[in-house]
Symmetry: C2
Subunit: 221 residues, 2 copies
């Protein structure tokens, strides 16, 4: 026998699922619009039209454009970062780990250009050097320094900004069709050189067969 | 005795000077506004208000925002680039030349922040890798390769994009007060490493006393 309490619970669960779906549509819409237009010129109306929800609905989920940008960025980055963590968990050499992560990130240009344009336009690599992918890169660089695989950098925050900007620039030029398909290897070799790995070895590590990554980055929710 | 022809000539010369002055005011105004606001959100009205000229006057000098941006960029870059050319004309070592040029460019943050914000916001380093400062950097890298001072890069356009993005990122973080006063040296050392110079030598070259640059970058016209 259904009690009123159960009915309310089921209703609220269904409502909860619907709210979750609407939120997901807004986040997906924000990712697509920002991929096309960049952050500065994207408006809340652009996002609600792309998501096919009413303009006012937006504010039931996010207080501002900055808030949905933050949510969209962190979801996009975390799924990608977790997949890379899983892929490289058993590797000992920090140089190999960093090369694989950089190369997979650049290669999203080929198999997921919406995600790639989003992270390029949203400034993920140039603004967030302490969170998300920047935090992971910091961890891997520190591991390489402590094992004397890398030279100790004279200024780690500066190095992180330089690497982030390098990834951003290479992905953007690839998205624009300007650099060739080996750009991922060439970028990885340059970064390993900056970390103190010898040029020939850097090139060898950066051109090894790339293990496949399994998890999606949440773009097809 | 003044002939009518001479009077016309003098008038037209005076008009010419006035036109030149108004154009210069528009270019200076564009540099200041873009320094503060970035390219995307700057409007022609912002520029004419900053220059204190009528809105319609703008179109006597430039057909579009893109046109004044191009003129402002090329004037800003050429004056800076010529000063660096002069400063390094007598130096033989391409590594030293590049270190000096990178360091002086980053140091504009301290002594000419309007110029620095302008070149950061206008995308000079990330868009113009084949003209202006990018052309000069290409020339110096090629000189170093031909003398076997640098390793031959596997992809020169990619390397130029990475260096350009690195300069952009370091200047922006300096402008935001985030990196210390030795950022110019640290950036130069990283770039020399990417070019194949050994780590210790790169650091030594990047920390030499920096010769003073004389010419202004046209900001005080």
């Amino acid at each position: 026998v259904k009690t009123p309490a159960t009915a309310v619970l089921r209703l609220s669960t269904r409502q909860g699922r619907r709210k979750e779906r609407t939120r997901g549509r807004l986040v997906d819409a924000a990712r697509r619009v920002i991929s096309r237009k960049g952050v500065e010129t994207t408006t809340i109306l652009d996002i609600t039209e792309e998501a096919d929800v009413g303009f006012g609905t937006f504010y039931n989920y996010f207080p501002s454009k900055e808030a949905i940008l933050a949510a969209t960025s962190s979801e996009a980055v975390e799924a990608h970062g977790s997949a890379l963590d899983e892929l490289t968990a058993d590797l000992d050499d920090a140089a190999e780990v960093i090369a694989i992560c950089l190369r997979h990130t650049v290669r999203t240009v080929d198999h997921d250009p919406i995600w790639a344009w989003f992270v390029v336009n949203a400034g993920i690599f140039t603004e967030q050097t302490e969170a998300g992918l920047g935090r992971r890169l910091t961890r891997d660089i520190r591991a390489g320094i402590s094992r004397r695989r890398f030279a100790k950098p004279s200024n780690l925050p500066l190095l992180l900004h330089v690497i982030g900007a390098a990834v951003w620039a290479v992905m953007r030029e690839r998205l624009r069709g300007k650099l060739g398909p080996k750009a991922d290897q060439e970028l990885a070799a340059l970064v390993l050189r900056m970390l103190g790995v010898d040029g020939d070895e850097a090139r060898e590590i950066a051109s090894r067969p790339l293990p496949a990554v399994s998890a999606a980055r949440g773009e097809s929710r």
